[in-house]
Symmetry: C2
Subunit: 420 residues, 2 copies
Amino acid sequence: MGLPLSHATEVLLGLFIVFVAAQVGAEIAQRLKLPAVVGEIAAGCVVGPAALGWVKINEPLEVLAELGAVLLLFSVGLETRLEDLKRVGRTATSVGVAGVILPFILGAAWAKLSGFDTPKAMFVASAFVATSAGITARVLHDLGVLGRTESRVILGAAVIDDILAMLLLGVVTALQGGGAVNVSGLLFVAATAVGFVALIAFVGTHLMRRSSPLLDAPINPLSPLTLSLALCLGLAAAASFLGLAAIIGAFLAGMVAAESRQRQALERQTQVIMSFLVPYFFVLTGARVEIGRLSTLPMLGTLALVTVLAVIGKVVGCGLGARSLGTRSALVVGVGMVPRGEVGIIVASLGQQARVFGGDTYALIVAMSLLTSVLAPPVLKRLLCGLPPEPRDGEGEACHLYAVEATGHGPAGAEAEAAR
Amino acid sequence: MGLPLSHATEVLLGLFIVFVAAQVGAEIAQRLKLPAVVGEIAAGCVVGPAALGWVKINEPLEVLAELGAVLLLFSVGLETRLEDLKRVGRTATSVGVAGVILPFILGAAWAKLSGFDTPKAMFVASAFVATSAGITARVLHDLGVLGRTESRVILGAAVIDDILAMLLLGVVTALQGGGAVNVSGLLFVAATAVGFVALIAFVGTHLMRRSSPLLDAPINPLSPLTLSLALCLGLAAAASFLGLAAIIGAFLAGMVAAESRQRQALERQTQVIMSFLVPYFFVLTGARVEIGRLSTLPMLGTLALVTVLAVIGKVVGCGLGARSLGTRSALVVGVGMVPRGEVGIIVASLGQQARVFGGDTYALIVAMSLLTSVLAPPVLKRLLCGLPPEPRDGEGEACHLYAVEATGHGPAGAEAEAAR
């Protein structure tokens, strides 16, 4: 009627449809015992321009999706404590490192052979490296095996490879665009990324351990949350300004906030905000996939190849890293590290939006992430059931910690929320 | 560097600056014993284009601000229970109704004399009518007088005038644009607004009372929240589609959700999401004010006139409505109803964005809202201290209910959050 409300109506309708699609998709996926994320991305494919076309991708949706990704990585950071990483120790580190190197090499080799130049091939490959700590933790939690050595190693290594993926993303992002790659430029870029991450991760967490009472100083009783969110937005902007991905800053802000005394309240509150914003990220991820592109036989063949490479990279790489645990346990660790998720998909989104690669590669990476997330859990379950029982020494703090991480999107931590 | 991140950096930087400005402004205001809202709007004036120019008003910020307004009205609705309204009874109703009619007449008369045509004058006037339930509740809470009869009447009447303001906004919004105002058109528009509000308020709440277990049916343990948010977005889009303001739909969604068994958890969780999004609304409100416009003597004179009209409208209108309580108590009620806030400012924003009126009128309305919010509390305090003590019959449910409403933006309810 009277006022020019049609644009406002369109925006609100888009927000509504995306949000509802996410809830429906998550519900269906979880009833099918799949991760909620898978359902949300699939819902995005369905309502997006490639299928039903109910949702147009416009700037409001993109901003909410970006905020969702920022919050998601903030919450992953919030679960990442330097001390716990040290405690999980050498095995997790070797699993994490080997599990990044091999998938990166395989991914880069495939991308290079597919015709990408070296910087772009490295960007594509960096979408192969990060295990979804959230999805894996959820599966281990559901199986009730969070206390096992294999589980501790998997979760520690998943966090380590998140950090390595962040570093890698910083380096490959900054490598794009500059025509010739010279060694001094590469070193400068790597130094910026490593320096920023190291500065915040070590100095920031150190400062926070001493000064967390400051978070309670303002009058506003929600100030620990609002100050942490301000830190999150500030470091995201700073990372973006330095040419790194904004989510790296958000992840670091989470790591800093994790050292505060108010960490548990922050986790609960972040979950609530995420329940509103993160669905926008996953539904838009799905909506950007032009599923038509995957319908040809050559593309399906490529998808199979890429997925096999992604699986081999983790099973062999991580398995080698965990060989000190014995063959069967090393296999469990390798399979447990297979699911890709949030981080890989975020890398893929960044690459597509920055036109590092086109719709085909984007569709392949997202589909590969979904497939690994869907395929690994049943295999992991079977392998774990075949293992000899391990004397339960109680589920240590580290495990509880990462169990909550499942709430990165799933209900595990949300249960805690609902139960409080 | 490489990737075209500059737009992303700019957007993130804007989000960061606005969020930090809000926290700083709220903190300063609260240390000066002023409502947090006043500080956030003032912060917006400072960082906005009219002063420092650190923030450009772009679509991402506008969408977040709109979501903030939608959530704010959702939370006001969440505190509004039909049953409580019935209980507060006849006095509150007559205060609410008289306190809408007189300010509306005064506002419309002023706008008409200032040269607006009738539909626009009605729009301007509708920004005069709504008392800020949040600010008033906060003041009464701080004085520890929530249990007094006057307080109950004020809070009940504030809710009733929110509803009347919503209805009025629906009608005047739909009246804009259509050149000639004919009676049948007016009736149709009024019928649509009243019909939509009545349908959702009565049928929706009735259905929710019977079916709140459904909110817990999905696997996601945060589902009562996500389903309520979906309802909020859906009704906001529906209201917008019908030519009403989106916030009307959000308010109604809140009223419906208030009937669910999960109301208290919803309140807590909504507060958390609001702490992230509502600051965008108030800072942008301030950033849109071209404070330069208020610096001329004629404009300052007009501001004084408008503020006096706004004060008289409520003190006389509400005072008459409350005359059964005795002169002194009626005066307390009248002064308690003076602060304008969220709803009036939202109406002003809508009017400016829809070009119903220009920057001068917008600046006047926002400044009037701020002045009434700053001026009334000290007077109210003095009046209340002069009243004879009333036998405390315990702070009834209705009062606790609306005390929480202060968290619409202030710390009152957030304390509850922090304390849990």
